[in-house]
């Protein structure tokens, strides 16, 4: 992969974003909890059998959360939807590298995150996370949503991306192309030379200061996004909050129809075994690359909530190769590479 230099913040913009509204923390926290409620209700309705069980927890250093888990539902083998809101004296070094202005300041962080592992191999696994930080002079929004199918279904993938694009386009024309690419790069397993799935959108450090991207990205490569997609205009806190709110609300319409359509589709041990094998990649990504997971594990986070994202049953198999001319082969050839799913010219 080519190495690009990280774009520098342009000289014409202010070095720190304008202060957020006085009630910013309350508003974002309420929104994050509301999204958790809404998503859990929508998923219970879809599942038709299982219900979420909640664990409320407190963090000794400040804050806490509510973890909700559905186990052995009719549709979902396991799923977790977390809300957390934490504060403390200093952000960890891994974040301070990206936001040096926050050094020496207390911080506040809130977010919602979710991973769903369906029983049926024809239903994709899905992940969502939205988060908000304040620390001294800086604040930012981050997060995204991405889809990991086990079996190829172009209509599903296009529905998912189309829903996200429509949400993005209501706010900024270059959100979708930039955040779609960022997602493909973030959810990438270098050691497998595979994307985790068919992507979606991902962004971080959005403080409205006019760049699509600031600082080195998570996989250690510098950002290409701004160079290819162009800089964003300056955006206010309100505009970014409205965008993230809209993203959160896009989850159910993006995912539920996909799950609904395949939940009663028959499958055999063959498909189930392939699903269990592919779930191994989810584990590999989350434990080897995912910044949030590793950071949480290494800094005394609530382990059970962090590892709720891991699948309930997983298989590894030495030197597995899909058979030629099978759906499994097509998954590898097409669906585990970055693709321009919504382009007119795209076809299988």
């Amino acid at each position: 992969m080519t190495t690009f230099s990280a774009p520098q913040r342009s000289q014409s913009t202010s070095p720190t974003p304008a202060a957020p509204p006085a009630d910013s923390r309350d508003r974002v926290s309420q929104f994050m909890q509301g999204i958790q409620d809404e998503i859990c209700q929508g998923l219970e309705a879809l599942d038709g059998g299982g219900t979420f069980q909640q664990d409320q927890w407190e963090r000794p250093e400040g804050g806490g959360g509510r973890s909700r888990v559905i186990k052995q539902g009719a549709v979902f083998e396991q799923g977790g939807v977390n809300f957390s809101e934490v504060w403390g004296e200093q952000l960890p070094p891994s974040i301070l590298v990206q936001r040096p202005e926050a050094a020496g300041h207390g911080f506040y962080a809130t977010g919602t995150s979710m991973v769903l592992h369906p029983h049926n191999p024809y239903i994709p696994t899905v992940h969502l996370n939205y988060r908000y930080f304040e620390a001294g002079p800086v604040w930012w929004f981050g997060g995204g949503i991405d889809l990991t199918p086990y079996y190829p279904n172009l209509a599903d993938v296009q529905h998912f991306h189309r829903t996200l694009k429509a949400t993005c386009d209501r706010h900024q024309a270059n959100y979708y192309p930039g955040f779609k690419q960022w997602c493909d790069e973030y959810f990438y397993l270098k050691h497998r030379n595979e994307t985790r799935g068919v992507g979606g959108i991902f962004f971080d450090y959005q403080d409205g200061l006019g760049q699509l991207y600031r600082g080195p990205n998570e996989t250690g490569e510098a950002a290409q996004y701004s160079q290819q997609v162009g800089d964003l205009p300056q955006r206010s806190w309100e505009e970014l909050f409205a965008f993230v709110s809209d993203c959160g609300q896009a989850f159910l319409p993006a995912y539920v129809p996909i799950a609904e359509q395949s939940k009663d589709r028959p499958y055999s041990d063959h498909e189930r075994n392939f699903q269990l094998y592919r779930r191994g990649r989810y584990v590999e990504f989350n434990l080897v690359y995912d910044r949030g997971t590793i950071f949480g594990l290494q800094t005394n986070g609530r382990t059970e909530s962090i590892l709720m994202s891991l699948p309930p049953l997983v298989r590894w198999e030495y030197s597995y190769q899909p058979e030629p001319d099978t759906p499994e082969q097509q998954l590898y050839d097409v669906f585990l590479k970055p693709q321009d799913w919504l382009s007119d010219g795209f076809k299988l």
Copy 2:
């Protein structure tokens, strides 16, 4: 945990070890291959059903290896025994931090590594790795062996440790106490507050220069070993090679009787489910903490050989807790904490 400062190399010793014999690489490489052969033969005899399949591979940058896998044997659900021998222009930064004298020099590395996942939950999983490096003015041996039971069996654990202690004691009286403690610290899951299993021995950077330990250790804490166990005398390359050879040969007598004794012991879904759940910890350790695994994945190693260590089937369960007064509870209470297994006063 208390933070200790890493002991500095004492001023009275030479800054680099004496040169190894002219045929050092050949001798160690032959030994590593011999151990691989011997272990595979011993395990096939034990298994009585499965055989190892070999993949020979080459590394474009120099060297290669032979990976051997047993799948769905009578005793072993999956196991891998790897030999590799690689060379190149420069060691990776993660090792150069520990061995700055090697910077700017080509390197040579050879090793054998093994993980076995038995079917029967009453047979422990076992891991072995021995390795040898040369790079410019420095060379060193490293490695170890450790046992991960699913069900408590003190006699097994004591047999394992007694065999290792006898091997160590033939060479240096403070090898076993120092390397046993190093093992407990290295194979430790901070985010679970658990050891990976009942330990064994582990050491790294053994160049004969008189310390038990040099440099910051893998878990980021400084070394306590030398402080508690005392410095080692200076040892020659021949003495260290003889020690590592002896360790390699200790594997079959340390492990085979344990597996032999439990291989026909009946078990139910309850024990199997607990085994699958506990295997999750193996995955967590290898992907989150294990230096060799992470280094290999991030530097274009042969992924299938590196991840041969992962179990064939694994379960995660949100908020699992063992029932009181069960063998599972005893595993957590006693066997997943560092213990002085061989002390006269130790009892359950």
